[in-house]
Each structure stands twice: as structure tokens, then as C-alpha cells.
């Protein structure tokens, strides 16, 4: 009987886990949400444009509505006024979702070590792949998408269990609240100052 089935089906059947099948599907149809704020956004455009052509890697369907996307590409520096917007957009994206932090600014603040620029978005939201460079070349961005695809394929689960473990902040080192207080005190701010109440 078994041989009969084998004969009929031949190589047309293969076994896998549901997790792997789902991850395979997800990895190969990433829909990016381009959160392009600055110069890196222009390189993101060139990546999508004629010469580099991101669609060769199955993730060219840029959607500007966060509800339709599962990959956020943060391209460019994020400043004080923009960070709440970024977080809000991130929270609106449906699970499972991933984030690529593109460029030195998004990763660490880059050359802008100033009062206004957030020193790395990973201090305030989860990031999956970092792309160094100022700006990264389009090839680098494509590499990062391939890496992300590998990451999804190797560890993805159908009901996104892998994210359940990642509930702690993932930034390089959490900015110490005491440090914040010290900076403020050194500059003459009182702690009971309403405006400067630490939010977290």
C-alpha cells in the first residue's frame, strides 16, 4: 500500500513543520514600511529604483500605511520630536513584525551627538538588523534584508512564539535613570520639576 502511494506521488510530497512553512512564506514576502527621515531615505529610494532593484529579493512592496507592513526600515536620524511618531507607527504594525535600523544615525546617532538626536533607536524600541554606514550602500541594505530573511527562516514560528521571550528592552545598555538625574542636577534642574519627570 505504502509503496503504491509512493509510486503515485513520487517526489511530489515532502514533510516539514508548520513553523518552517510559515517562516518561509513570511521571509520571502516582506512588505517594508519605509520610515525614511533623512539622507538614508534617498539611498533607500535608490535601492528600490532601477539599478539596484529591491524587488529581486521579494520585498519591494513599499506600503506607507503601517497596518499593511511587517518590516519597518528606519532610514535616517530620529530626533526628539520624531521618536514618539516612530513608536506610534511601530505599535500600529501587525505582528509578526521586524525592524531594520538603517544607517549610523538610526543605530547610534552617528555624527550627530547633539541635544536633539536620539542616540540609537534601539534604546527605545526593538531592532532586528543593524546596517552600518553613512549612508549604507544599497548593496548593504540588500544584504541586511537577506540576513533578516535568514533570521526569520531559522527561528520563526507560526504563532510568533519567538517574540514572547523578548520582553526586556534590547538596547546596547539601557540609559541609566540615575545618570539622567545626575545630568539634570548638574544643570540645575530640580527633580520635582513636572516637565522633567522621567516617563519610564
Amino acid at each position: 500500500m505504502a509503496t503504491q502511494i509512493n509510486k503515485q506521488l513520487g517526489d511530489n510530497i515532502f514533510l516539514t513543520t508548520l513553523d518552517a512553512a510559515a517562516s518561509w512564506g513570511r521571509a520571502n514576502s516582506l512588505w517594508p514600511m519605509p520610515f525614511a527621515t533623512a539622507c538614508c531615505g534617498i539611498e533607500l529610494m535608490s535601492t528600490a529604483a532601477s539599478k539596484h532593484d529591491l524587488s529581486r529579493f521579494g520585498s519591494e512592496v513599499m506600503r506607507f500605511s503601517p497596518r499593511q507592513c511587517d518590516l519597518m526600515i528606519v532610514a535616517g536620524r530620529v530626533v526628539m520630536k520624531m521618536l514618539p511618531v516612530l513608536q506610534r507607527i511601530w505599535l500600529q504594525m501587525p505582528e509578526p513584525k521586524w525592524c531594520i535600523s538603517m544607517g549610523a544615525c538610526a543605530c547610534t546617532g552617528g555624527v550627530f551627538d547633539t541635544y536633539a538626536v536620539v542616540q540609537g533607536i534601539d534604546r527605545f524600541m526593538p531592532v532586528d538588523v543593524y546596517v552600518p554606514g553613512c549612508p549604507p550602500r544599497p548593496e548593504q541594505l540588500i544584504r541586511s534584508i537577506l540576513d533578516l530573511q535568514d533570521k526569520i527562516k531559522s527561528g520563526g514560528t507560526v504563532n510568533a512564539r519567538e517574540f514572547k521571550l523578548r520582553i526586556l528592552p534590547e538596547g546596547p545598555s539601557r540609559f541609566d535613570e540615575d545618570e539622567l538625574i545626575r545630568i539634570r542636577e548638574r544643570n540645575g534642574f530640580k527633580l520635582d520639576d513636572q516637565k522633567y519627570d522621567p516617563v519610564h
Binding site: M80, Q87, W90, Y115, R123, M125, K164, R166, F175, H200
Partner: protein
């Protein structure tokens, strides 16, 4: 040197000078020249009168409006310098008009009634230096968040800020 000749048009600037002296009797105007660029320093009390006179003398475009904090400059008594870069579009003549300003009263009249292009430039100067422009139609911060408390381009404000950039909630995978 080629640089020196770019914007100096000696005869024209002399006419403008005499015209301004005519238009502004009794106002102290201090003229100077640097690499072919004419500058004038005028008294802060007469701001609007001066600006109107500049416009009457043919400077119909306000190219730029900015300020300088002179706190660490050395050898100056004044705290702020407000700079108006003016241009006569037809003749291409430029004039840099400056005025000094001191604490505690950092209020000067707005130039929006003279050149409406001053609108955002004044808001930016307020944003960065805390100089208030009275009579501005829509006066508030331009670039920084409304609840930002300092004026970052003042010399006594640190480059890295006072920790404002670290003051946000953290979103983790648990929330999202």
C-alpha cells in the same frame, strides 16, 4: 582678489548710505566694511524705523535674519546680536544690518510688517535664542517641541543637551 569685488559696488553703496542718513536723522549708524561687504550697526531702540528706512532705500528682500550669542566672544559688552541680511533684488546690492540686545529685556518689535518673509526666521531665532519678537502674528517655537525649556544655541547650553534626548518611554516586544 576676485572675492573682494563680488558684492562691492562702491558708488551705489555710497548713494544708499547717504539716503539712509537722510531717512534716519538722529539715529546712530555705524558703518563698516569687510572683504567688500558693507555692514551697519544701528541702535536697538529704533528698530522698526530703521527697518522701514532700509526698505525705503530699496532693500526689498530680507535674505536672512539670525542672531549671535556673544557670551564667549570676548571684548564685547553686549549679549546678543541680531543680524538682518538685506538684498536689493534689482540691483543686487547687499547690506548686513546688525543690532545689539541685552538681557533681561529680550523683546524687540517684529519685522513681519516690513517683510513677511521674516515670519519663520523670527520664530527660529526665538526657538534658538529666546529673543521675543513683539507683534508677530503667530509666535511660538518653530523647530523644537513646544515643551522644550531651553534655548539650545545659547553658548551656555551644552552641545549634548541636558538629557532631553533620553527622556522617552521604552517600547519592547511585550507591548508591541
Amino acid at each position: 582678489m576676485a572675492n573682494e569685488t563680488t558684492d562691492s559696488k562702491p558708488s551705489e553703496i555710497e548713494t544708499v548710505k547717504s539716503r539712509l542718513v537722510e531717512l534716519l536723522p538722529g539715529v546712530g549708524l555705524e558703518w563698516s566694511e569687510f572683504r567688500g561687504q558693507t555692514r551697519v550697526v544701528f541702535a536697538s531702540g529704533e528698530l522698526l524705523r530703521c527697518l522701514n528706512a532700509f526698505k525705503a532705500a530699496g532693500f526689498d528682500q530680507l535674505t536672512d535674519l539670525t542672531a549671535v550669542d556673544l557670551l564667549e566672544y570676548g571684548n564685547v559688552d553686549d549679549r546678543f546680536e541680531v543680524v538682518y541680511c538685506l538684498l536689493n533684488v534689482d540691483s543686487g546690492l547687499r547690506l548686513i544690518a546688525k543690532m545689539h540686545l541685552n538681557e533681561p529685556d529680550l523683546t524687540i518689535p517684529s519685522a513681519t510688517s516690513v517683510w513677511f518673509g521674516a515670519d519663520w526666521l523670527e520664530r527660529e531665532v526665538y526657538d534658538m535664542y529666546g529673543i521675543v519678537f513683539a507683534g508677530h502674528p503667530n509666535f511660538k517655537r518653530l523647530l523644537l517641541p513646544d515643551d522644550f525649556q531651553s534655548f539650545p544655541l545659547r553658548k551656555d547650553y551644552p552641545v549634548k543637551g541636558r538629557g532631553e534626548r533620553h527622556n522617552f518611554p521604552i517600547v519592547t516586544r511585550a507591548e508591541s
